[in-house]
């Protein structure tokens, strides 16, 4: 679960909320106004609509470029507002609860779509949007954006959460190549340590979500997709032996100070620093595991390392011969009102044309899973490769587990799952961690 997803969890989720259904019960799913009309030819002249998201900086610029292109095509006027700042808990939630939602919001939690849908707060996709989504995306992405068999959202961007980033120079200095298996990763870490890298593997334990991502990738490989799906829905308890196996495997790295330095220090390192430590001018680390958006963190530096030459990627290693599998996450645009421009905009977002603008705007850092987007649209080969991998796996990926859990369990800084894994990072007590995780999971209502 990423930081931005945390923001979204906080803003978005609160929305389904409350006793407020009565306040705006009239806005049921009648407005299919945009269906059929293709987003072109100044058909929407003078229609203005609002979009709430959490992107700022380069990502905001890229998304704004898409809005501008849409406005130019149709004559509509879209206004994007980022709900940023870390203090915005419930901004969208309160707005929806109060009956003044934005026309479109971008959500990163698939669970939120189901919750909004069941509360009748969002609009089902028009026929045009449906056909655009099915033409351009693997079916699994459409399923994630649906609830009760109805499509509501459009995938905007995606991230590959099974990428391990490394400092190419440090690997050369140590004379090693990217490891393909878990054991090789450990061996690589030891060699890096011998070569003078103080903390070979940088763990950003200060942000608990990085730890959930570590765990999920290991669990996906040691327990397999079926158990992954069950644990995601809390259909098996956290005290299950498969969780113990994953945690014990994880401990081979987390529990070794030669690999990650002092765990007490690692638990204070925020995500951004964990990346900086690998790619700054005098690096203290050589490997950092996190998603494809690490590229954005690197390029937002003032003296960035060059992605693709200084900063490279290898897939999360196989454990005990596990087959290749990816973890992914992404954001979905959903219409909250029957605004005439909303559905046409969603349809446009699903087009390869919009995807191209989104990924190619400078500073964007976005990846798209639009399968009809040419790889050449990406500004650098690494992003292109990452996107290609995401598209190529088709439906063979699993969505971020903690992003699918209720935010009270999988999305609360320093508490519940995040906090429990932080504690585990420090003390390495498998049984205690399992019991605490199960206790916390039980105290939360699962959908």
């Amino acid at each position: 679960m990423s930081l931005k997803m945390r923001n979204l969890a906080v803003t978005a989720i609160a929305a389904t909320s409350l006793l407020s259904v009565a306040a705006c019960g009239s806005s049921s799913s009648s407005g299919d106004s945009g269906s059929g009309s293709s987003p072109s030819g100044q058909s929407l002249k003078g229609v203005s609509f609002t979009i709430l998201g959490q992107w700022t900086g380069g990502e905001q610029d890229a998304f704004q470029a898409v809005i501008d292109a849409f406005d130019k095509k149709t004559g509509a006027k879209g206004t994007y507002t980022p709900a940023a700042g870390g203090d915005e808990a419930g901004v969208l939630g309160t707005k929806v609860a109060g009956g003044t939602p934005p026309d479109i919001a971008v959500l990163s939690l698939p669970g939120a779509i189901a919750q909004y849908a069941s509360a009748n707060k969002i609009q089902p996709a028009s026929a045009a949007v449906q056909s655009a989504v099915s033409a351009n995306f693997a079916t699994e992405w459409g399923t994630l954006a649906s609830a009760g068999g109805k499509l509501y959202g459009v995938p905007v961007d995606a991230s590959d959460k099974s990428t391990v980033w490394y400092n190419a120079k440090a690997f050369t200095n140590a004379g090693i190549t990217p490891p393909a298996t878990w054991d090789d990763l450990i061996k690589a870490g030891k060699t890096l340590s011998a070569s003078g890298v103080q903390v070979p593997i940088s763990v950003g334990g200060g942000d608990g979500w990085t730890l959930t991502d570590w765990f999920e990738n290991v669990y996906l490989r040691t327990a397999g997709v079926d158990l992954y799906d069950k644990l995601t829905k809390h259909q098996i308890p956290w005290t299950d032996p498969s969780v113990a196996t994953a945690l014990t495997t994880l401990k081979q790295i987390w529990g070794d100070p030669e690999l990650i330095g002092s765990p007490a220090a690692a638990v204070k390192v925020p995500f951004t620093s964990s990346v900086d430590n690998v790619f700054k001018k005098t690096p203290t680390s050589a490997i950092v595991y996190e998603a494809s958006f690490v590229a954005t963190t690197i390029t937002s530096d003032k003296n960035p390392a060059k992605v693709g030459t200084d900063a490279k990627v290898f897939p999360f290693p196989s454990i005990n011969g596990s087959a290749p599998v990816s973890e992914a996450a992404g954001d979905f645009a959903v219409a909250f009102t029957p605004n005439k421009a909303a559905q046409p905009f969603l349809a446009y977002l699903a087009s390869p044309e919009a995807a191209k603008i989104l990924v190619s705007t400078s500073g964007s850092g976005f990846l798209s899973v639009n399968k009809n987007l040419a790889n050449s649209a990406y500004p650098d080969a690494t992003s292109g490769d990452l996107a290609k991998q995401l598209v190529d796996v088709g439906n063979n990926f699993r969505f971020d587990m903690s992003d699918q859990a209720p935010a009270a369990f999988g999305g609360t800084p320093n508490k519940t799952e995040w906090g429990d894994l932080q504690t585990f990072l420090v003390n390495g007590n498998v049984a205690a961690a399992q019991q605490q995780l199960e206790k916390d999971a039980k105290s939360v209502k699962w959908n």
Binding site: T56, G57, A84, E88, G90, K280, K281, T296
Partner: protein, 296 residues
């Protein structure tokens, strides 16, 4: 006799001299103590100021104190980058449009209510006042959802007025609490004499309470001004892109996947200028208060 006399004389001189020495040195110690305190208090802000003048690429080289050794590193780059953004200027004007009315309303309404609680008699006065004090503790977060619903029923969602009203509501409990207690300290004889003279309540309020209460009113005004000026949470919930104040504009420029010190630090100093000017301007009222108290 002469001996005794001279003894007395020298005694007084000695005592006077000793007292003066003590006063002199303790005055010096006091001054040094206050200077040390002031420097300690300035230190964190000073660090932030230096940090706001450093290029972010320098951060990795060391803390802000390194820049003092190499002053050539200092640059206004962060400021100019921030000021290029057009949402900053409209945000600034929105902040003014929100803060000034929200402060004036709280001061006026709070003074009137504070006076009523301090000097008027009506049934249930103590209990109602108790309730108002109780309202002080209500956390803002609790009120967000109910008030959003209220605003959408009133049709004022997203407007500047909606932001102002929220600040007024949450500013009043402290205003009433502070002003009632301050007004209650105004000498009883003064009030009763004025009433004996047949002065109306309005006249008493404007001619006695407001002038005598000026130091308290001025400090309340400053704090209310600051709280509203620096508010982020309320504005995030109630404003929209047209009515958003500076804090929201700033926050929306911070990065999710990187450090934002190069935005927050210069932003802090840009938005510090006005409140400091207001504080310096209000100093006058403290002095006036002093005079009102001392003139006989």
């Amino acid at each position: 006799m002469t001996v005794a006399n001279s003894d007395i004389v020298t005694g007084t001189i000695n005592r006077g001299f000793a007292a003066r020495v003590v006063a002199r040195t303790s005055g010096g110690a006091l001054r040094i103590f206050l200077i040390v305190v002031a420097l300690l208090w300035l230190l964190p802000t000073f660090g932030l100021l230096i940090e706001s003048l450093r290029d972010p690429s320098q951060y990795a080289n060391g803390g802000w104190w390194y820049a003092i050794i190499h002053p050539a590193q200092l640059t206004f780059g962060n400021y100019s980058q921030l000021l290029q953004n057009h949402t900053m200027s409209s945000g600034f004007f929105n902040t003014v449009k929100i803060t000034v009315p929200a402060t004036l309303l709280v001061v006026l309404i709070g003074s009137a209510a504070g006076y009523a609680f301090a000097w008027m008699e009506f049934p249930g006065r103590d209990w109602i006042f108790l309730l108002v004090v109780g309202l002080l503790v209500i956390p803002i977060q609790i009120a967000l959802i109910p008030v959003v619903k209220l605003y959408s029923a009133m049709g004022i969602s997203g407007s500047i007025i909606s932001v102002i009203m929220f600040h007024v509501g949450f500013g009043l409990p402290f205003a009433i609490f502070l002003l009632r207690n301050y007004f209650a300290g105004i000498p009883r004889d003064l009030m009763e004499a004025a009433r004996m003279d047949g002065a109306s309540e309005g006249r008493i309020f404007f001619r006695i309470i407001l002038p005598l209460g000026m130091p308290a009113i001025a400090s309340l005004g400053i704090f209310q001004f600051l709280w509203v000026w620096n508010d982020l949470l309320v504005a995030l919930v109630f404003s929209n892109s047209a009515s958003q104040p500076l804090t929201v504009a700033l926050a929306s420029q911070t990065r999710q996947f990187g450090s934002s010190i190069d935005i927050l630090a210069p932003g802090a100093f840009l938005s510090l200028i006005v409140p400091l000017a207001v504080f310096l301007g209000f100093q006058r009222f403290f002095v006036q208060g002093v005079m009102a108290g001392s003139v006989k």
